[in-house]
Amino acid sequence: MPDFYDDDARLTRPRIVALALSAALVALLSLIILTAPGDLERLNLVARERLTESGVANPVTAVLLNFRGYDTLLEVAVLLLAVIGIWSMARYARVWIKVPDTPVLAAFVRLVLPLMVLVSGYLLWLGADAPGGAFQGGAVLGGMGILWIAAAVWLPDFQFQRFARVMLVLGLIAFVGASTLLLALEGSFMEYPAGEAKNWILVIESAAMISIGMTLMMLFVGGIPRLNEGTV
């Protein structure tokens, strides 16, 4: 069977069985989820009541970085782990480097890159009060990285690799470091001192954003950033 078409799109017997089973599962789960109490306040009220204590005005950011900041810490760890995992599997960059034969792309990148840095910073800053934050800002930074590679502004080499390593771990180090420091100071992991939560959150978020951006870029690179002759 050719590799790029699952040409065999016919409904074979196993597929029909799988389809029927999935449909049954869907039907059951749909029925059940509709019976769930609809008027339950769940954690909504609690979270909103204590929003003022969290140091930020955006409840999602408050949950992400304060109430359930520990989840986010592990999340940042997942990001780093994904890159380490990829690097351990692929010893060379996967991306296909080809210098573009038109100046338009470079011009575009020159125009857009500063804008993206600005936007990512803006989203981070905004995160405290409105939708936005480290993940979204980081995603924009990651996009910038992809653009960078796509326009062949940067070729993966090992000077860059060292820089990348530091950037990758920055967020997790900041997160764990700050949390441990707070453990020593306040007696509880990641418990921000009263009134200073916002500053701590911003510092952690900034570091995390850089790491997230670098991580997403490295996911795209798909291997240790160095060129192998003939790497695709």
């Binding site: 034969d101 038109t102 792309l105 575009f108 125009l111 857009v112």
Partner: protein
């Protein structure tokens, strides 16, 4: 009230441009012509909607944001259109000509 009417008209016009773009993408015969229809129509449509939103905006911040959004889209789509056009040409496809 007048503002609202203007907004309605703008949105209506924008919808027309979007429709044109979509019809173009669907009906035109080859990549180049479709590219042409899409970029023109959609960017114009988005511009109109952005203007409508700007009319309703409460602060300058929002207007700046709208400008940036529109600017980004237009730069990106023109760059991409350029890249696509080049690539398509290089792939050996020739622009469609009206059959005589």
């Amino acid at each position: 009230m007048l503002l609202d009417i203007a907004v309605v008209i703008l949105i209506f016009a924008a919808s027309f441009f979007f429709l044109a773009g979509t019809v173009g993408v669907l009906r035109l015969p080859d990549t180049f012509t479709r590219l042409h229809a899409l970029t023109k129509a959609d960017n114009a449509g988005l511009l109109l909607i952005a203007i409508a939103a700007a009319l309703k905006a409460d602060s300058w911040e929002v207007i700046v944001k709208l400008v940036i959004i529109w600017g980004l889209v237009i730069i990106a789509s023109s760059t991409v259109a350029h890249l696509i056009g080049r690539a398509t040409l290089q792939n050996g496809q020739t622009p469609w000509e009206k059959p005589s």
